[in-house]
């Protein structure tokens, strides 16, 4: 054991979890899959006074279809989402993104709620949720509320979640026969944090794409919609879309890649993803 001392409580319901959070002035942290939290505790980058374990809350891991939406409970493990036939059929973008999320061992423990609430700018799922126009269901001391994915991700590790809030589920509009999706990611090695990634969704009408949503990750503090490129793609202008990226994205350099390189790679991914969007649905 490497972390500093902390208290631990096991929540038996969503309401109980929120109540426990409320008792610690927003200093307590929820323990879901622990794939980011435990590492930061071990490295002593975080030392919350209390962990509220939500692993035993019944039903929090369900994956279901309701009213034309796919419901994914916050405690659904990546591995279960990856293998879910409901997800494969009704939210194929998530299925495509899943193998890029770290490694099998991490996907066995890590949860969809944990990943979304953590809001790592290099993570795949936040971008997927924005691309899909998903809605995130939040439980707080004042009850439940629903926030659109685009409004949920505020910045680097920052979300619409307040200190006493808990992400309960995500509702993803189910794909129709006209839905097309695309996903590409460049990482140093498969499973590493993305250098640049792109999650995309669109509706197909004849030979044209409409409602194009191109959401980049690892190029800013949060998922970034490339709106200029989206319009260009809808107009069938791929070169114009690539050119628009220089205005849509403002990538920052990291240890390995300069901003220029990231912008170039974003363009490479754009062409590859658009090709996927244009493919007939399997």
């Amino acid at each position: 054991m490497k972390p500093a001392a902390f208290a631990y409580a096991k929540a038996h319901s969503i309401e109980h979890a929120v109540e426990l959070l409320g008792k610690h002035d927003g200093e307590a942290r929820l323990l879901a899959g622990g794939q980011s939290l435990i590492a930061s505790l071990n490295m002593r980058l975080a030392s919350p006074p209390m962990l509220v374990d939500i692993n035993d809350i019944a039903g929090l891991d369900r994956i279901d279809m309701t009213d034309g939406h796919v419901l994914i409970g916050a405690m659904a493990r990546h591995a279960d989402v990856e293998r879910s036939s409901i997800i494969a059929k009704h939210a194929p973008l998530i299925s495509r993104a899943m193998p890029h999320i770290a490694h099998a061992a991490i996907r066995n423990r890590g949860t969809i709620g944990g990943s979304l609430a953590y809001a790592d700018p290099a993570a795949e799922l936040p971008a997927c949720m924005v691309a899909l126009g998903a809605k995130l269901e939040i439980a707080g001391l004042q009850g439940r509320r629903v926030v659109a994915a685009e409004d949920f991700f505020k910045g680097m590790f920052e979300t619409a979640l307040g200190p006493n809030d808990m992400l309960v589920a995500v509702h993803v509009p189910a794909a129709t026969a006209q839905t097309r999706v695309g996903f590409e990611e460049l990482a140093r090695r498969h499973g590493d944090y993305a250098i640049v990634g792109l999650a995309a969704a669109a509706q197909v009408a004849g030979a044209k794409l409409s409602d194009v949503r191109l959401v980049y990750f690892s190029v800013g503090d949060a998922p970034v919609r490339a709106r200029g490129a989206e319009s260009a793609i809808a107009a069938g202008d791929i070169d114009g879309a690539a050119a628009a990226l220089s205005k849509d994205l403002l990538p920052t350099a990291d240890l390995e890649s300069s901003a220029e390189v990231k912008l170039h790679l974003a363009g490479v991914l754009l062409r590859r993803v658009v090709r996927q969007l244009q493919e007939a649905r399997a």
Binding site: M1, K2, P3, A4, A5, N42, M43, R44, L186, R188, R189, H190, G191, D192, Y193, I195, L255, E256, S257, V261, H264, L265, V268
Partner: protein, 778 residues
């Protein structure tokens, strides 16, 4: 008996007997050892690359919950604790250098990030970590010198005030005058400056140490993750505590990977001992991964300028080089070996009439250096092979033809190289031909065209290496017990190599005893009479031949007893398939039964002692010269710079192979490490000496999916320097892979006019080079 020997005999691909234990989590590593009343230690490490330590205040930390003691340099001075003193070239007759010994804890100056400042011991590891955060150290940062070129620059910051210039030691080999003369007259001179990147071993098991002091006998037991427990005992007892070795027992039980990094003593090994003596409780320290990247010794980090001189026909006339190897903040015990092997093997596998190398080992404000899989041999190979590839471009010759023209021919064996080293055997041209066949070299052009169709650049690369394997002498004991079963007591140390399997195979074949009944003991100075551990690909040559010597002695010792039991003359006996037979009769007795007779409680013959055992010895004098041809193909996505290693074929001459499965495993692991160095791995410090690659998010190790199926075979050219005909195989892959992969990369980049590239060839750097080249072309 024949069936038993057949299945488990020498050469058979017997699966490791260790695997069941390791794979099911039943291994016993140092961190698994928890003793009654166990206390835990945590290091306070320097956050500065170079700083004066103005003061250390431990008051708040000492008052923290659960704290048992805190050690600083002052405490060590009070207890007259000595430093870790390295071997230096001057001890072997070379010019005097600067012996930068390492204190267990820094007193007034921190010389690298991760330098040990204090050691906090508490009831639990968490409490020790919490208390360590309360140790207040007042640092006054100093300018840092991080690269060898910064360190040797005029008026560079001194790392040790009495050592201007920051040189630790120098070495030179060859004939300077003759070489300069050859270069003056040469038709072509090819010159390269290359950077051999700094890497970290990153063994899966991080280092750990647990010391238990026994006041009643004033003696210590130390569990430590060492490749060399007896050497650890000698160094700690002799240098640090200045006590007889009988008062220190060192146990290195299961050790999860070493690669040279666990070959020498670290401050923590002795700090746990000082602390245990002070608090009269066992004290355990286990490195975290972050501490490992900061505090483990690193490898490589060499800047070298080399030249080849050619005549008109492409024959090499001479080689010369000036190399600078970083040694880091202090000189570790075997750091000199890195420079030594790199100068010894300067001329590689080529028949070169004249050569000279001048090597400088340079102190830097970085983690110290230790031998790392190959230790200087990969550096030497990388230089000469890159020079050959460059020469092929300049001389407009095919690189394979250029090598064929210059290889030391088999007919010239034994061959003395430019540094005076004698290669006993090798058939480089033949091994190359075999490798080209296996690699389907003829099909490369077609594969390249295929890649081009998919928008990818494909490159082919070949490298040929020779290395010097095995060093020092060693001892292997065989001991029968009263039930007639035998135990191997190994002076070598397996930390992943599979010695328990291969040594048992050998003993089973030689003595005809059942494989599954042979017990294997290593890594405990109380159990194993003497040993020198495992590094430098030494176990099979030194340990294997010592074991053969021990087995031969057993047969000789047992023969008179067998003769008595068979009522025959010893001269009439032959030993075969585990039995002594009276020649020409069907009278025979099994060795295991003869062994039992040595344990008879009474009526032993007067000239026979109780028990059947032997101590075998062998010395690597001279050592052996494994060599091999490594070829590979890479594909580059020009849009992203992403590189894929798509084919790899190696033919290694490792002499006679004792277990093909284990030998292949050694080569495969080495290739993965070499591939890591070539394409991903890089320890990076900023100019103030901060470590930028301090976690596995920033330091990339190759993974299974990055490695293609590895093809190849062994060319078993027996070594003439030892009875078994074996050559070391542990370092082959890490030596052959980097130059082969970089040759393939440069081959792929040739259409872009890119002629030089330093490791690691990350996608970002490849893309940047491609982009720059295309821009230039446009």
């Amino acid at each position: 008996m024949d069936a038993v020997v057949g299945k488990f005999g020498i050469g058979q691909p017997v699966r490791r007997v260790e695997d069941q234990r390791f794979i099911t989590g039943k291994g016993r590593f140092v961190d698994d050892v928890t003793l009654p009343q166990q206390a835990y230690g945590v290091l306070v490490m320097s956050p500065h690359g170079h700083a004066t330590i103005k003061s250390i205040n431990t008051k708040a930390a000492l008052a923290a919950e659960g704290v048992l003691c805190i050690l600083t340099a002052k405490d060590l001075a009070d207890e007259k604790i000595g430093m870790l003193i390295p071997a230096m070239p001057e001890d072997f007759g070379a010019p005097k250098g600067y012996r930068a010994s390492r204190p267990l804890l820094a007193a007034d100056r921190a010389r690298c990030v991760g330098d040990r400042i204090a050691f906090v011991v508490a009831e639990t590891e968490e409490l020790a970590r919490s208390a360590a955060e309360l140790v207040e150290v007042d640092y006054a940062p100093l300018p840092a010198v991080v690269t060898v070129e910064q360190a040797v620059a005029k008026d560079a910051q001194k790392i040790y005030d009495d050592n201007p210039g920051n040189i630790a030691f120098i070495m030179a080999m060859g004939n300077k005058e003759k070489t300069d003369e050859v270069f003056a007259k040469a038709k072509h001179v090819v010159k390269l400056k290359i950077n051999n990147n700094r890497v970290s071993a990153n063994s899966i098991e991080t280092r750990a140490a647990n010391a238990d002091y026994a006041a009643e006998s004033d003696s210590f037991t130390l569990y430590t993750t060492s490749q060399n427990p007896h050497g650890t005992r000698s160094q700690i007892a002799g240098q640090v505590f200045k006590i007889p070795e009988t008062r220190l027992r060192v146990i290195s039980p299961d050790v999860g990977g070493g690669f040279g990094m666990k070959g020498s003593v670290y401050p923590e090994d002795a700090l746990v001992m000082v602390a245990s003596r002070r608090i009269s409780r066992p004290v355990k320290w286990t490195s975290t991964r972050a501490e490992a990247l900061l505090g483990d010794a690193h490898g490589r980090d060499q800047v070298v300028t080399g030249e080849l001189a050619f005549d008109d026909s492409g024959k090499i006339l001479g080689i010369r080089a000036h190399s600078m190897h970083a040694v880091g903040s202090h000189v570790t015990a075997a750091a000199f070996a890195i420079s030594m092997f790199s100068v010894k093997l300067l001329s590689g596998v080529y028949d070169i009439p004249a050569g000279f190398i001048f090597a400088q080992a340079v102190l830097t404000n970085t983690s110290p250096m230790a031998p790392y899989r190959g230790a200087g041999r990969p550096e030497a190979t990388y230089l000469v092979e890159r020079l050959i590839e460059r020469a092929a471009v300049i001389l407009k010759m095919d690189p394979i033809a250029l090598r064929m023209k210059n290889f030391v021919p088999k007919s010239k064996m034994p061959y003395t190289n430019t540094s005076g080293i004698v290669y006993d055997s090798g058939d480089f041209a033949h091994v190359t031909q075999e490798c080209l066949k296996l690699a389907d070299y003829d099909g490369f052009k077609k594969r390249r065209a295929e890649s081009k169709k998919n928008g990818k650049l494909r490159g082919w690369g070949l490298a040929y290496f020779v290395e010097e394997a095995a060093i020092f002498n060693d001892r292997m004991d065989l001991r029968f017990d009263p039930s007639g079963q035998v135990t191997i007591l190994a002076g070598t140390h397996s930390h992943g190599q599979g010695h328990a399997t291969v040594y048992a195979q050998m003993v089973s074949e030689w003595l005809g005893v059942p494989f599954e009944n042979i017990r294997f003991i290593q890594g405990d100075t109380n159990e194993v009479p003497m040993g020198r551990g495992t590094y430098g690909s030494r176990s099979m040559m030194v340990g294997g031949n010592a074991l053969k010597n021990a087995a031969d002695q057993i047969v000789e010792k047992a023969k008179p007893m067998a003769a008595r039991m068979l009522e025959a003359a010893a001269g009439d006996l032959e030993f075969k398939d585990g039995k002594f037979k009276v020649v020409g009769t069907d009278k025979a007795i099994e060795l295991t039964n003869v062994a039992k007779a040595f344990y008879a409680p009474m009526f032993l013959p007067k000239d026979v002692g109780v028990g059947l055992e032997s101590a075998g010895t062998f010395a690597a004098e001279p050592p052996c010269y494994p060599n091999g041809c490594h070829t590979c193909e890479i594909e580059i996505d020009t849009q992203t710079g992403v590189i894929a290693l798509v084919r790899y074929t190696a033919v290694d001459d490792v002499g006679k192979v004792m277990n093909h499965l284990l030998a292949e495993g050694q080569v495969h692991g080495g290739i993965a490490q070499g591939m890591g160095q070539a394409l991903m791995e890089h320890i990076v410090y900023d100019n103030s000496g901060q470590l930028l690659s301090g976690s596995f998010m920033d330091y990339a190790m190759p993974r299974a999916e990055d490695i293609p199926d590895l093809g190849g075979e062994f060319a078993e050219v027996p070594s003439t320097t030892n009875p078994l005909g074996v050559k070391g195989c542990g370092e082959a892959g890490a030596t052959g892979a980097p130059p082969a992969i970089m040759a393939a990369l440069l081959d792929a980049l040739k259409p872009y006019g890119i002629e030089e590239f330093d490791m690691p060839a990350t996608p970002q750097r490849v893309w940047a080079a491609l982009n720059k080249a295309s821009v230039k072309a446009a």
